[in-house]
Amino acid sequence: MRGRREPIWVAPLIALGICAFVLVAIDAGGPVRALLVAAFSLLGPGAGMARALHLRSPIEQLALVVPFSLACTAVVAMAALYMGWWSPLGIMGVLILGTIGLLMFGGRGPRVAAES
């Protein structure tokens, strides 16, 4: 039986999310925080969704990862706004947990015809 191989970018992306969260939590300033947080915010949630949807074509990933990320961010931010729990760190925590969940377990969903 062949084992499932994880894409090489999964671990770095999770690490990026955790680093970004720590930087925001300690209120670090400067361009490093901005770059890391922006990179995670634009790529992380969307990459998780792309993995959950079994998107393997590079062009599909290129087309959808950033819009997916922004949409996930908008959903969580809006939920926080309407519930009166506005907290950037809390929103980020939800997004990171969701991303980690999708990245780790998303690839285990139903397999498509091309894989079987």
Binding site: V37, V75, A77, L81
Partner: protein, 620 residues
Amino acid sequence: MRVPLTSPRSSRPFTARFEYLRGAWNALPPWALPVALQVAAVVFWLAGLPMIDLDQLDDYGLVSQLPALTYVALALMALAFVLALTARELRPALLAANLVLLAIMLYAITVFIEDAPRFATTYVHAGFVEAIGRTGQRFPNLDARFDWPGFFAMTAYLEQVTGVRSLDVSPLVPVASNLLYLPPLWLLYRSVSPDRRLAWLALWVFLAANWIGQDYLSPQGFNYLLYVVILAMLVHWFRFPDGHLGWVDRLWAYLIERVPQRIPIHRRWRTDARALVVDGFSADAWRPGVVIAIAVLFAVDVSSHQLTPFVVLLGTTTLVVVSRLSLRGLPLLMAVMIAAWVSYMTVTFLAGHLAGLLSDVGQTDAVAEASVGRRLRGSEGHLAIVYFRLVLSLVIWLGAAFGALRRLWYGKLDLITGLLALVPFGMLALQSYGGEILLRVFFFGLPFIAFFFAAGFRPRRGRMGAGWTAAMAVGLAALAIAMPIARYGNERADRMTSLEIAAIDELYQVAEPGSLISVGNYNSPFRFRDTELFRFRSLSPHVANSDVDSLITYMSRANTDCYLLMTRSMQATAEMFIGLPPGEWDAMIAELRTRPEIEVVLENADAIVFKLLDSSPTSP
């Protein structure tokens, strides 16, 4: 005496040297010339930037200051793209580099020459973002856009976690947005046509034709991304499999059968009858998950913008009706989501605007008047730009119609792209959208119009003739040159300066919360912070009449501290759009200075702020 064709030192004849040059030319790698042209274009473009004097801008906009070098650079980019596109071997990296550079040249030129973010609405949106981030609340009583807060909440979160103000990155948003639109458009184009070169060409046309300027820091710019992504996903994954013939295809086949056999096109159309159903590349994914993703994207769309969800719904419904989408229940789900949001989440807005919203339905004459008629006024330069935009849009639409006919001639009935290009026109029967609906029709149709415009030069796969290649180079160059003229035609008013911002920032320090800030008109970089703490009123009608008495009277009716803000960008707007004669603005400011009821509290070269001395109520 006869002069020899060879030099004394060289015994080779002229023709032999010509052959040598041709050999050397042929020995060059095929990417060398496009790369050289692109480098030259960048150099020319950069060299042209210092020649632009923004203080000399007139009512024709940026075109009044753009040097010839800029136009040459854009023409070279077009030529480089055509050479790369028609090369024997397609080099995606080269074409992608050309697209990125073109996007920077067209959409980021103001980043290099202006000292502050442009466009007054950018500041208003940044103010909404700041208010949400600071308070964690919406203010629907202040502005209806708070009833669709998806984009503002997302941006407020990003602003706070990155530590970077949205206003500071806003100049880069147009170029970033347009680059983000391209990959889903590629997915869409490749799903409806197997021709990669046509897809690249359509992307280039899209960039060069998007003069509308709705891609700034705004909900509509963000929702446009969702619009193209949703449509791309639907067409990519949920169009019917190749060979499925819907009722339109069967009707088409029936009609073709009745075309007499002797007509030459009969055979071509009949042969391609099955190929009429799209033959792009196939896609694999977890489809139930894709449906959920589309629903999530649409939910964000519904909660972020008033107009875009209706266009997505119209497009999706149309594709289902003509049997091009297998997700037959999706339009119903979308309609329910829109109805739920509008009914329950936008009550504040609907309470005051329902009658106004419904009054435009079916009133196409009124909508056309609002979209075109009301724009045909203002200064001579501004009018010229408005006509230029109308003509440019018409040329692009006609070019697309020509491309659609050429595709049809070769047996390609592009039902998906064709209908999606036409669907936005349906909005004309619903809303004037503050006189902007025709702009939005062009904007929403543009991805598909670009496809057909490109198909005008390249309707099918295979080598292109020299004539069509030359026509394509000329057409693309003309489009790229025309784009900044149309897009930056209002730049005298759209440009904001750091002096204006400094004055307004200082006004925020001086004014007590709750004060009334009266403005000459709304075109100024105010409201970028503390937007819910102050009241704002436009005195545009009084300014248009240069009526200082009524202006002072209006201010004196305020029951609180009242300020009057007058800026350079307001002056440009009054002169360009309202037709205030040159000199009137300065005369009005001079008269305001003499009035004993007000005093100057702040002043610099681009802005002046007056304060009403006695703000107690003087009249009901």
